[in-house]
């Protein structure tokens, strides 16, 4: 017992010693850098930190922010619009130099943006846009989802050789997904032999996508292709296709390029995926803020490019 207390106090001494050293080191660092201008503080209210896409986006914000010497204060609303409204109020009261929002609700967020405008804090949105019709946003940085949808259409047309019957597994009411789907439809218009025979929502959930795909295979066993608006939907549909032991080839095109989907593409189970570059969204958001704070003009919409992953592109890597 005594000995243990002895050990504990030794650890405490060691730790306080380390703390003193740390203070000295960082202190000397600050001294060496000389009197720097006050650090710019950027506050953010992001949709979530539970999703790979947002984890990467946040990573982009943090790395680029460090490069620009910004201090970042990141909070997460976890899909709760009311929580986000409170969060933004608190962030505004801390008077940051800029505010980044990825709205939980494209309409409800207007109120919060107006509040930030009144406090003359410049607002930037990432990934999801403000569609409330009020509040002014300096710049919106997001993937070009319409272009992504067109790329998905291109993948589908190529895989099908320009003819076949296709279904869409959708997630309506999400603006970015709506852009994807209209891009997909837009591209396929030049292929009259490719017919979109159904458009069914699975709400982006894997288990629902599986059940829906089972029913689709029953209802229209003749389909040749599936465009799934995210990878959970694609992987869910894939399970149903595999379980039904369909003999013909059904082309699955997904969206996002999550590691699990990439593995399925490598195994030639999914034909290909449209991939976004969330890290790049984060990086561009910080660069846009930097430019704006330095008085440079910035574009109101910044579309971040999208790409595709197929077995071929994976093979060449």
């Amino acid at each position: 017992m005594v000995r243990r207390r002895h050990g504990l106090s030794r650890i405490l001494v060691l730790m306080s010693g380390l703390a003193v050293m740390a203070v000295l080191v960082t202190g000397s660092d600050v001294l060496a850098a000389g009197p720097a201008p006050a650090k710019r503080r950027i506050a953010a209210s992001l949709l979530t930190n539970k999703h790979g896409f947002y984890q990467e986006l946040e990573d982009g914000l943090l790395t680029e922010g460090r490069k620009c010497g910004f201090e970042l204060d990141i909070t997460y609303a976890e899909f709760d619009a009311a929580k986000q409204a409170r969060q933004i109020e608190e962030l505004i009261s801390r008077k940051p130099d800029a505010l980044i929002i990825s709205p939980c609700d494209s309409t409800a967020v207007g109120e919060s943006i107006v509040k930030a405008n009144r406090a003359s804090i410049p607002v930037f949105t990432v990934d999801i846009a403000n569609r409330s019709g009020y509040g002014s946003v300096v710049s919106h940085i997001a993937s070009d989802n319409f272009e992504g949808g067109r790329l998905a259409g291109q993948l589908m047309a190529r895989a099908l050789g320009g003819t076949g019957k296709v279904i869409i597994i959708n997630h309506p009411s999400i603006t970015s997904v709506m852009d994807r789907v209209s891009g997909f439809r837009d591209y396929l218009e030049q292929y009259p032999a490719i017919q979109i025979v159904a458009d069914i929502p699975a709400w982006g959930q894997r288990s629902r996508a599986t059940a829906i795909m089972e029913d689709v295979l029953m209802m229209m066993p003749y389909i040749d292709g599936v465009f799934a608006i995210n990878d959970d939907s694609a992987l869910g549909a894939l399970q149903a296709i595999e379980a039904a032991r369909v003999k013909r080839r059904i082309v699955v095109v997904g969206y996002d390029g999550t590691p699990e989907a990439v593995a399925a593409i490598r195994a030639s189970k999914i034909y290909g995926d449209v991939v976004q570059y969330p890290r790049q969204i984060g990086v561009l958001a910080i660069q846009t803020i930097r430019d704006h704070l330095n008085g440079l003009p910035v574009k109101p919409h910044i579309a971040v490019g999208v790409g595709v992953v197929t077995t071929d592109t994976l093979g060449s890597r």
Binding site: T48, K50, G52, P201, D215, D232, G236
Partner: protein
Amino acid sequence: MSDLREDLTRFAPTEAVAAGGGVGGGGGAGVSAAAARRSGGLGVRVGRLFEDYGMAIVFAGICVLFTIWTKGLFIRPDNIVNVLRQISINACIATGMTFVIITGGVDLSVGSVLAVVGIVIAKLLTRLPGFIPVLPAIILSCFVGLVMGGVMGAVSGFTIARFRVPPFVSTLAMMTAARGVAFLLSDGRPVWNLPVQFNFIGRGYVLDKVFGPWIPMPVVIMVVVMGIAHVILAHTQIGRYVYAVGGNEEAARLSGINVGRVKMFTYSLSGVTAALGGIILISRLASGQPGAGESYELYAIAATVLGGTSMSGGKGTMIGTAIGALIMGVLNNGLNLAGVESYSQNVILGAVILGAVLIDKLRKAG
């Protein structure tokens, strides 16, 4: 009680005859009364049949409707197999839920328990096979998951039985906390790369070589679980205790039943069946998902209530729950096949749940 009801139904036609005669004209009433008299026992028997199997008749009606609506697509054997497979998870969860609701409680935590157990099993399955052979690893992981589900249920049950926390509150707390744990353990990401052999539970077929793809493993699990649950509920002492606690808790206590222990048992069972649902789900999806099972508690409650289990406790059967789960599954599948878009599907599903239970209430009151 059931004797009394039998007597009442037996008397009903006779009274109708008397009333018809008394009014002395009313053509329609007279004819129907006469018909009732002529058919005698048969009419009574049909009435009794409807009394006992009302929901089964509703179910049969829905099936006929969809068969016509989808021009026979619905009734094809491969579609029936689909429906059975689709309901297997909900049916497993509803099995435990039935026990809980019969005691007069409710378990809102099942969806979250399913998610946590799914993540834990998926994590074990991605790591264990490096140390021990795959098959023992699968059995061990599933066993750990089932025990975990049982323990989580027991925790809810304990607070309910020992401290009289209302079941709604206690299981709501568990639902919230367990969902958080699922996200914490998985860091918010799906856990995948499960061993291929594990797929069998959710996607395999029993005696594939002999019968072909006709007897899905999840359906076998569902039938076995519901069968065992039926025997427990209808033919064992603990089953009778479950009804007694739900019927009149004070009377049960006074007659020497350990009410707390019975409640603990039902919530633990609910945890185990939720865990079982989790095992089927992650095997079916080939990955553990922290967001899995959201609002599954409501589907399970709906199936249980559709099956005639009373939310105020004391009444309900496993056969009823099976029919409830079938009605839910058939509606989902049939509306999909009939090409009804999903917003209307939700409206119809809601209306059917309310309508079916209303009919049931009115029938029993009348």
